[in-house]
């Protein structure tokens, strides 16, 4: 059978680029589990913020196929080594993405506003001292400041700007990031959300959350109940 994700052996590596790890695998597994929906969603523009090694965006391109209607893939990273790694990873898999070396989505927000149908983000979510955020090289891949929220809190408004009416956002979060609060913040912007994958590793408890524009509150309530239970336990 054809592989449905990027092959680890073909993922480019560099000392200054974050290698695919549990969080990356969790995000790709979540996308793969949602693949049928993604295919039916028929996205025109798919984007990744912080593409790192290129494992996630390449996996997305591989699982959505590269024959017939191919969406416009665009990925950003603040780290130029990551941009190069992503290019190599994409090339090794015979897929193509446009790359922009920038901070989050700076320079793209005006013209891409309301256009992105699928946005994937594995943000730097590790709680760190604030002065480590946005440092050069690999530190930018994980340093998330207070509660690991510094970069996430910049990504959320950018995502809201970029997502199309039918846009979906898939994001990795850590329990320490207070995902219930993230969901509430997004609720205020008109998004429903659902945890589509939960995974506990030796070091961390990861949630992959999917967001979409929706005024229906039923799912939101389910989600709030879920978080309430989580907090109570």
């Amino acid at each position: 059978m054809h592989s449905r994700t990027a092959k680890i052996a073909l993922v480019s590596s560099h000392p200054e680029v974050y290698e695919p790890c549990d969080d990356s695998f969790a995000l790709v597994d979540a996308l793969l589990a949602d693949r049928t929906n993604l295919l039916q969603h028929h996205p025109s523009i798919c984007m990744e913020i912080g593409c790192g090694s290129g494992y996630v965006i390449t996996s997305l391109a591989v699982m959505l196929g590269h024959e017939g209607f191919v969406p416009y893939y665009i990925a950003t990273d603040i780290n130029r080594h990551a941009i190069r790694a992503t290019r190599e990873t994409m090339d090794a898999h015979g897929v193509y993405t446009e790359l922009v070396n920038t901070d989050i989505t700076s320079g793209l927000e005006k013209r891409l506003a309301g256009s992105v149908d699928v946005l994937v983000v594995n943000p730097p979510y590790v709680p760190t001292p604030e002065d480590e955020v946005g440092c050069e090289g690999i530190t930018s891949a994980w340093a998330g400041g207070e509660n690991g929220r510094s970069v996430i809190d910049k990504i959320l408004p950018a995502a809201d700007t970029l997502l199309s009416e039918k846009g979906w956002l898939y994001m990795v979060t850590l329990t320490a990031n207070n995902p219930s609060e993230i969901c509430l913040e997004m609720r205020k912007k008109g998004y429903a959300s659902r945890i589509i994958l939960q995974r506990s590793t030796e070091e961390e408890s990861l949630h992959i959350i999917k967001f979409w524009r929706d005024s229906d509150s039923e799912l939101e309530l389910n989600n709030l109940n879920y978080w309430t239970k989580l907090v109570m336990n």
Binding site: S44, E67, Y72, I78, R84, V100, T102, D103, S106, G107
Partner: protein, 122 residues
């Protein structure tokens, strides 16, 4: 970098009101064949700022795009193929994107625009 991406970029320097379109300074252009897909082109047509695309493609040495375009032209096979070529197959490999307001250059190396700002530009 495809011209589709050029069409989606604008100068992000603080205080710049009119950052689009970025002017292109060409060092190297490469052409890469892309599978033709009408449905994709039709979707992108509504998102593309035509004048910026036509101007950018001329700068890259491709002069076949008309000055103006409207959706009725999407019925023409000839038009679609030219649009396809300009939008997806012309790549700025080396060069720069220039902010129309400040003249600040954003370098493009190995097909990747560098939109990172200096501290005093954020």
């Amino acid at each position: 970098m495809r011209l589709l991406t050029h069409n989606m970029l604008s100068s992000n320097i603080k205080g710049v009101a009119n950052g689009f379109p970025l002017k292109i300074e060409v060092v190297t252009v490469v052409e890469k064949e892309v599978e033709f897909n009408i449905e994709f082109l039709k979707k992108m047509f509504s998102k593309v700022e035509w004048k910026a695309l036509a101007e950018a493609s001329r700068t890259m040495g491709y002069t076949e795009l008309p000055e103006n375009a409207d959706a009725s032209m999407l019925d023409s096979d000839d038009f679609l193929h030219k649009f396809h070529h300009a939008l997806l197959e012309l790549h700025l490999e080396e060069g720069a994107l220039v902010c129309p307001e400040t003249g600040r250059k954003f370098p493009v190396n190995k097909g990747v625009p560098n939109m990172l700002l200096h501290e005093d530009e954020v």
